[in-house]
Assembly symmetry: D2
Homo-oligomer: 155 residues x 4
């Protein structure tokens, strides 16, 4: 049983209806140490581009993130995906509102080596209570390395 | 950013607080043609046991569900998982309420052959707005064949 | 522990290296009754466009697929996603080879009403043993309704 | 198209056929700094119990893992789940073998507060090439807080 007709579909709140005073990447960067756990702040995620429904960040592949196999640990990819989506939601909402990750699914398409990677978080839909996103992580050569999909509940 | 302290946790609505007049398996069986699409009714899912937070069903592995490889198609497993969880929710709620599947993840652990399989749907948690479930599909030898996890939104 | 350096990365088999004699949509259409279970054939999925790494299909939203809520059942979306990906793999491989769905994750972004919907299956990566895909289902208005990610094992 | 009959099902390698000299929790603990990235080692995951197909660990909920909402960040839960499963696989295999996380799906059932939590990783099936697991994270009161399912490829 899926998706009855009265499911949340407030088109007035869709991705297009972005707040005119959406946060800049500098403002997002300043929020990181305020809202995330220190262990997440340590990742060094850096927002570099934002537009309606999209946030791009870079993640340095530091030695702290590399495991015995010589590549970035998958746990860092998952953490970066979730963090990127929270930042995108923050930008879309224009303020910090309580929200909770309902689920996050990650698929590891290829290993990540090199010195940095790029994360793109996309808002697929924002309803009144739920938001849906997709996050792609690209390696230094621009190849898709991890793809995640996620659902957030707005509280 | 996950799970702030004000996340929904109404323990009064937890799995334990099941309605005293929960539906019997006969009542659930009678609901199937009323709420599901004809293509789903055709699966022949049959509720055989219910208790608080758990519903067990059988699914006949008919020729209509078998693909060229000679085993039950995975699509039937996914459909059965979702359907089982909706029936369990119906029982837990004691009435039909609009709900929507937010996500369903299936992992295919081993192929399903034989003439029938067994599905167990478990309610992991029911909050005010969201419910979480796990569904296991066992083959005729009782081995886990498919494991699914799912999230529902109560509308 | 994720993605050691010796993970499968045969670039010679990447999406770009598509067989020159890839199947046409007519050839794919002819394969459907041969490889899928009758219950899946009954969906009426129709391949309409193919290119390297992408297959587009239409799915008629017949009354058999509509549940009490008046919209297409989510189970049909999941089944269509898996089926679409198998057909795309068939085209990419140029022949039927045994494969198995390892996992499929679906997120239900909005309900599907109307008389038909469109499915796009994309091959994210094909390694020697594993293939990764993403499937988007769009409603009649072209809005994303379901997003699925999936992993296949080539046997 | 799922699970053809020739899917990997080497029952001789099933969970029951555990090596007689499976690693102790002390041996597993000693492996942690050798195989995981420093950022993961910093989590302080501690194996406390192991039996065939099951590994139990504790995770201290230190201030470094707590976000502005006052609860443990979900990213730590996901990282712990993946790490726990790798350790369980290591124990089951009796030696370190290259493996890669194919996918990991996490569902966040309730927030995690308190001073520690418990993780249980279960091996659902181990084939020749793929292994399937489920990981449950319980809060200090023993309530299910996060449920993850995952697939690993043995290289």
């Amino acid at each position: 049983m899926t998706q009855p007709p009265d499911a949340p579909s407030p088109d007035a709140m869709s991705v297009d209806a972005i707040s005119l005073d959406a946060m800049s990447v500098d403002e997002l960067r300043a929020q990181i140490p305020k809202i995330f756990a220190p262990w997440i702040v340590a990742l060094g995620l850096d927002p570099v581009h934002a537009e309606a429904g999209l946030l791009r960040l870079t993640l340095p592949v530091t030695p702290a993130l590399v495991h015995v196999g010589g590549v970035m640990c998958g746990q860092a990819s998952m953490a970066a995906a979730d963090t990127a989506m929270v930042l995108l939601m923050l930008r879309e909402l224009g303020e910090f509102r309580p929200m909770t990750t309902v689920q996050l699914q990650s698929t590891f398409v290829r290993p990540v080596s090199g010195t940095s990677c790029t994360i793109e978080a996309r808002l697929l839909r924002r309803g009144r209570k739920l938001a849906f996103g997709r996050i792609d992580l690209f390696d230094e050569q621009g190849r898709l390395a991890v793809q995640a999909t996620t659902t957030y509940a707005l509280l």
